[in-house]
Amino acid sequence: MPPLLELRNVKMYYGVTNGVVKAVDGVSFVLNKGEAMALVGESGSGKSSLAFTIIRLLPRNVAEFSGEILLHDEELGTVDLAKMSEEELRRKIRWKKISMVFQASMNALNPILKVQDQMVEPLVLHLGLSKQEAIKIAEEALLSVGLAKDVLTRYPFELSGGMKQRVVIAMAIMMKPKLVILDEPTSALDVITQANIMNLLKELKAKFDLSYILITHDIALASEIADKIGVMYAGKIVEIAPSDIFFRKPKHPYSQKLLAAVPSLREEKAIEYIPGDVPSLINPPPGCRFHPRCPYAIKGKCEREEPPRRQVEGSEVACWLY
């Protein structure tokens, strides 16, 4: 599979009153065409910030933004999103090439506007389509997420949570993007609705040859769709590995702990947890950022030097143990 998106040493810091938050601190990875990657980690690990950085929706108080975000596209060739103008991003990239389903976005639908008006707006305003064309596209998108056309004339409050989530997903795929970023797409939904939405995402991926970046704190949910897992900790990716390898043999101690903390109904296992909290991104610990919570920390090494990411048996891990 050819690469679709390539991040090289991407940094995004933003300033707050008591310092600079290093939300994304030197992230690199490659996402191939038609591949789904899950970014997992605890709250405050920078996963959502990374997603926003990829589509360049930066906070207003951004302090540093650097690195390369390369999109390999048949039509545009290879472009660096980090250097594109805002105007170009809006016309050429967002919606058309990369779209995003935001966290709790089903609640972001405007309750006093019909679904139609909300779906058509970006197409007409940003992409300059006629209203007729836009409505046709919206109808098709609704059909492909398993909703009836007449949802267009309904108001969001007339729809259930699962239906609203489907509308938001329909908006994300309506311009046939190559990559959809899903930020906790099911976190506000019930388990059965969640399973239905995950089924839908699997179908859409196969049908439109989509790539996904799924952001979640739930590793079990990530396994529902991810071909590849990236584990984020304190602004960095500490492990990245194909799912088949990751779930059988997680290498980074943090990954191991995350997996051990998942409650399981079928398996008999004692549930474990990670002591301590996610470190502040203003003053992250020196050396390996996980060392204060790590059971295998090597004294004199882990707290001094930052481990580089290395290839280890099919995974890429940033840990001094390897």
Binding site: E42, G161, L221, S223, P263, D277
Partner: protein
């Protein structure tokens, strides 16, 4: 004698009241029964809108029931006036879902924990002692660091610990925990669950654990009650129900839960389509029939299945399991 006995409990909320309009009801809880012994944990599972939270609040008598019976410690409290319920309030407590909005942002941790003690007229010296001990128990150590903190200075997990400490500081005999971990990261959930479990068993507290996630219930529950659209559809010992779920809805809830397994991505989960019905106009017959893969036409859509004991202690309300 069980500590808590709930029999055929109903909580209906009137809607659309008008002079000439017929009164309609949202039947949030519509005929639920269970018993709970001291120190026992009952997990109440269901989707949003299944009535599980209303059930919890009604049992705590925060809401007046419409019909049925609640007996706590041998005393019937179903319709007891609020003024005579002080003893019941003093022997119960609640842990809330959202640690961000259930703590008053203007109060320090110390005051949040002291307040229930003040109401119980505990002398100040003793209060301070109990607060420190409560913080230690929920592993907010050293306690002195947390006493003067405000909720906004704490992480989600720490706030939920304060919520737990507040519920337990009065040593209640029965608590309702309403989705206490659903707002927390998976990595912290495990820790909070084991904390609740250890304190609950240490003080022999009976508990109702309300959640939509059966996997977390496994680490706490002795019994399981599955609710759908205001009705109990299955009830029994937790392990028995999980090992052999009889109601198609319970089966769907279990099927919908992913375990971390890389082969998940290659298959489509067999879950029923659609979402739970409106509680104003629930479907006729079995309320699950429009979504049920095993629906028997002319039966499930006509007549409501009663909750019957199919195995020892294991009850189900489904025509598939009722012999006529």
């Amino acid at each position: 004698m069980p500590l808590l006995e709930v029999h055929d409990l109903r909580t209906w909320f009137p809607v659309g009241r008008g002079l000439f309009k017929p009164v309609k009801y949202v039947k949030a809880v519509d005929g639920v029964s269970f018993t709970l012994d001291a120190g026992e944990v009952l997990a109440v599972i269901g989707e949003s809108g299944s009535g599980k939270t209303t059930l919890g609040r009604t049992v705590l008598r925060l809401i007046r029931p419409t019909a049925g019976k609640i007996v706590f410690d041998g005393k019937d409290i179903t319709y007891a006036p609020d003024a005579s319920l002080k003893w019941y309030r003093f022997s119960t407590a609640m842990i809330f879902q959202d640690p961000f909005s259930s703590l008053n942002p203007y109060h320090t941790v110390q005051y949040i924990l002291e307040e229930p003690l003040i109401l119980r007229k505990v002398p100040p010296q003793k209060r301070r002692e109990l607060v420190v001990k409560a913080l230690e128990e929920v592993k907010l150590v050293p306690p002195e660091d947390f006493l003067k903190k405000y909720p906004h200075m704490l992480s989600g997990g720490q706030r939920q610990r304060v919520g737990i400490a507040r519920a337990l500081i009065t040593r209640p005999r029965f608590i309702v925990a309403d989705e206490p971990v659903s707002m927390l990261d998976v990595s912290i959930r495990a820790e909070i669950l084991s904390l609740i479990r250890s304190l609950q068993s240490k003080y022999n507290i009976a508990m109702m654990y309300i959640t939509h996630d059966i996997a977390t219930a496994k680490y706490l529950a002795d019994k399981l009650l599955v609710m759908y659209a205001g009705k109990a559809v299955e009830y029994g010992p937790f392990r028995d129900v999980i090992k052999e779920p009889l109601h198609p809805y319970t089966q769907a809830l279990i099927e919908a839960l992913p375990d971390p397994d890389p082969t998940n991505r290659l298959k489509i989960r067999k879950v029923p389509p659609g979402e739970p019905p409106s509680l104003v106009n629930p479907p006729t017959g079995c309320r699950f029939h429009p979504r049920c893969p095993y629906m028997i036409k002319g039966e499930c859509d006509k007549e409501e299945p009663p909750l019957v004991e199919v195995k020892r202690g294991h009850y189900v309300a489904c025509w598939l399991h009722i012999k006529r």
